[in-house]
Symmetry: C2
Subunit: 222 residues, 2 copies
């Protein structure tokens, strides 16, 4: 199909397709004339993947490129593609704090084997830092924060995170177990990227919906 | 305390404190001289809350302002503060599609009571749209996507979302139940905002850590 047909089929403007071609996010079509090329299903597939990552995943073009590079490179192990997808939705790097040790203790307590450099470790440690900051400020300001989690020591962190880890552990186990083995590496990697970004959005949306439901029950519609 | 002491205590630069004062995110101190003011614990508390929302929650200053406005206004119901915090982490509005009906069917199936305008509905519908787009492109391109979820009809959507909803439902119930009733409205609202933004980060980090653990078990460290 021609560029105009491709753009219509993917639901993006021709200008966007051209920009993706120029930046290399989308592979070139087969040249059929000086200024014309033919595109096929692989272009459409890629274009829709990009759209999903950008529009729903909220990823930057730069981050989409990193994920796609990992998806396309047969020398990059599947686990690193997963890491690229994870990384992409993460925050910029932070300086290590005591919270990193607390995360390590928690992972050991949980029996989860996770690489030292995993971005998700950083993300979790940043949350612990922020919670400690808020709780600390509450004490300093002598504002009572009953129920505000204490995150100063390992025991408190384990108690705080346990219900969250209990919620996601069976889910993550099923997600990995259900990934079909007979998929090609590229398909597996693409699934991992989409599944990570999109189903993470689904998970947080469902938590919010359930919270709203239970909050309405408890506090009423006032 | 003086502005320099406040900024040191909160771990932000004096310029940042001044900017928050100027933009109204932070309430003014008590004037003690022409160009001097005294700040107290309430300023420190607020400053650390802003920092947590910006740095870990990744919220824009504009969004932080909306959340704080809701927290401060006694006329805004608690549920709407929750919605403001939720909204803030959400995506821009989208045009309604068939996915909105599928979300409604799912919520009814689940027995969750959620306001029609809730932003989390939009977020979930956007995920369903994106999944349908990717799956559809896979078929068009005749690329086999075994295991790629089908999201065309209600039954398929219910089956797809069920494990995710099962994971978060007990969590959300406990989160709402554990919110102490004796908190002031402002404290409750602040907790809701922090809990929503920060613990959502914790939840997604934990899912990633668990996925990495189970992926390493299944695919090995290759």
């Amino acid at each position: 199909m021609r560029l105009s047909e491709l753009s219509r089929a993917a639901g993006v403007t021709p200008a966007t397709v051209k920009w993706y071609l120029r930046t290399g996010l989308l592979h070139r079509g087969e040249a059929t004339a000086a200024n014309q090329a033919q595109y096929d299903g692989s272009h459409l597939q890629r274009l829709r993947l990009i759209r999903a990552l950008v529009e729903v995943g909220g990823l930057s073009t730069e981050t989409v490129r990193e994920v796609l590079t990992a998806v396309d490179d047969p020398d990059i192990p599947v686990l690193d593609v997963l890491a690229a997808a994870h990384d992409s939705a993460g925050r910029p790097p932070r300086a290590p704090t005591g919270a990193d040790d607390l995360v390590e203790v928690f992972l050991r307590h949980r029996g989860w084997t996770v690489k030292p450099g995993s971005p998700a470790r950083q993300q979790l440690a940043a949350v612990l830092d922020a919670l400690a900051t808020v709780a600390d400020a509450g004490r300093t300001a002598q504002i009572g924060h009953p129920g505000q989690p204490e995150v100063a020591d390992a025991e408190a962190v384990i108690a705080l995170l346990q219900p969250y880890a209990d919620a996601v552990e069976p889910l993550a186990r099923a997600e990995i177990a259900n990934a079909p083995v007979e998929l090609s590496r590229a398909q597996l990697a693409e699934r991992a990227a989409v599944g990570t970004v999109l189903m993470e959005q689904a998970l947080t949306a469902l938590r919010r919906l359930a919270q709203e439901h239970f909050a309405a029950q408890r506090y009423g519609r006032t």
